[in-house]
């Protein structure tokens, strides 16, 4: 390979490397400036999401390992919440499911309420899962009653959006069943340590 040929080969490589290095510096800079704000924005989003269910709350803690939120007011536990993902008609539906705090002492699990965090359901049909007329049906009912009316439960499906409705119902029922045990075990552990 002649010298000029070598130069022809190597210059583009060096130039591209140089451009990438500059780009990395800029991205590092932007990331370190925005990191804190993004974290705060996410935190605020979670808080306002929990506030929808527990209007009287002032703080929350998140258990990373077990993936649920404990909601506090003046240091007292007012309830628990977690994110459930349903398999909707147009893609995943993210729901927040809130549980009453007293389910630890009693056998029955009462649902405090649910709300939709994000979804991509059909506008005008499946989209109605975000409306209060649908989601309020979950408020205050025993989790064993979480099923569509035609299956003997207490939830009326949205007409024309059976897939979206039953996706939400199934996901709430299954996730509560799974999560309640986890929260109970976790609570026992904490209790043991505290007493």
């Amino acid at each position: 390979m002649t010298k000029s040929n070598l130069k022809k080969e190597i210059v583009p490589v060096l130039f591209l490397t140089f451009v990438v290095c500059i780009s990395v510096i800029f991205l590092y800079g932007t990331n370190s400036v925005t990191e804190e704000y993004i974290e705060n924005a996410k935190n605020d989003a979670v808080k306002s999401m929990l506030k929808e269910q527990f209007t009287e709350m002032d703080d929350y803690s998140y258990d990373e390992k077990l993936d649920f939120y404990t909601v506090f007011l003046n240091g007292e536990i007012v309830g628990y919440a977690f994110i459930a993902v349903a398999n909707g008609y147009g893609g995943p539906i993210e729901l927040i499911v809130a549980l009453e705090s007293n389910f630890l002492q009693e056998d029955e699990i009462i649902i405090h309420g649910i709300s939709v965090v994000s979804h991509s359901e059909t506008p005008g049909l499946g989209e109605k899962i975000v409306e209060a007329s649908f989601s309020d049906q979950f408020t205050g009912i025993n989790f064993n009653d979480v099923a569509l009316t035609r299956d003997g439960g207490k939830i009326d499906a949205i007409s024309g959006a059976t897939v979206s409705s039953s996706a939400v119902v199934d996901s709430v029922f299954n996730s509560v069943k799974e999560k309640a045990d986890i929260i109970r075990e976790n609570f026992d552990l904490n209790n043991g340590e505290e007493s």
């Binding site: 130039f15 591209l16 451009v19 924005a41």
Partner: protein, 204 residues
């Protein structure tokens, strides 16, 4: 001077990126469900387009021909990531509704197209005017499409939460199809057909 104004006008009317060059149709189809999204997307595209045109134009004499496309892509991707992070930090609600479409600006052909076809061959002031013109042209097109889709699909027009007006009859029974992806194709093709019929777009 006239040349610079010509560059600006070019993007808005004569070679409007969406309506005439038919570039950047994916973001146009995907985010034109509401006027808010259209404005957010336009702002993001304008910023990325202007910055990428400036940078590409500045380094045009040093960029080796063989690696120019990867170099442009790296520049555009860096700018888009900066926009994405900034939006997440300071405008979380807009960032949530534009979601995946911001990273997709990287592959928006308007930006790579202008970098390759214009900025890499022209001086910085011309490149800036070209970017502004193309950005505004994109903005006008996506706003018209969003306006039609929002009116037909939801029956009312609301911009950033302020309701401007609603169409009686249509708001109770909206034609939801126009909000769905299929509606985007309908609106954009009917719009192109109308413009062609009126002679705004000349064939050939």
């Amino acid at each position: 001077m006239t040349e610079i104004i010509e560059n600006l006008k070019n993007g808005i009317i004569k070679s409007n990126p969406v309506l005439i060059l038919l570039l950047g149709l994916c973001p146009t189809l995907a985010v034109s469900t509401s006027i808010d999204n259209a404005f957010g997307m336009t702002a993001a595209v304008l910023f990325v387009l202007i910055s990428s045109n400036i940078i590409v134009s500045l380094i045009r004499n040093y960029t080796p021909q063989r690696v120019r496309i990867p170099v442009f892509i790296v520049i555009i991707a860096t700018l888009v990531t900066i926009v994405d992070l900034t939006m997440q930090a300071f405008l979380p609600s807009l960032s949530k509704s534009l979601g995946i479409f911001i990273p997709l600006i990287v592959v928006n052909c308007i930006i790579l197209g202008r970098a390759e076809a214009f900025a890499s061959k022209n001086k910085v002031p011309n490149a800036i005017m070209d970017a502004v013109g193309m950005g505004i042209g994109f903005g006008i097109a996506i706003t018209i499409i969003s306006f039609l889709r929002q009116i037909l699909g939801t029956g009312n027009l609301a911009v950033f939460g302020n309701e401007i007006f609603n169409v009686p009859g249509l708001s109770e029974n909206p034609m939801s199809i126009f909000i769905l992806p299929m509606g985007a194709f309908l609106v954009i093709s009917l719009l192109l057909a109308t413009l062609r019929y009126l002679g705004v777009i000349k064939s050939g």
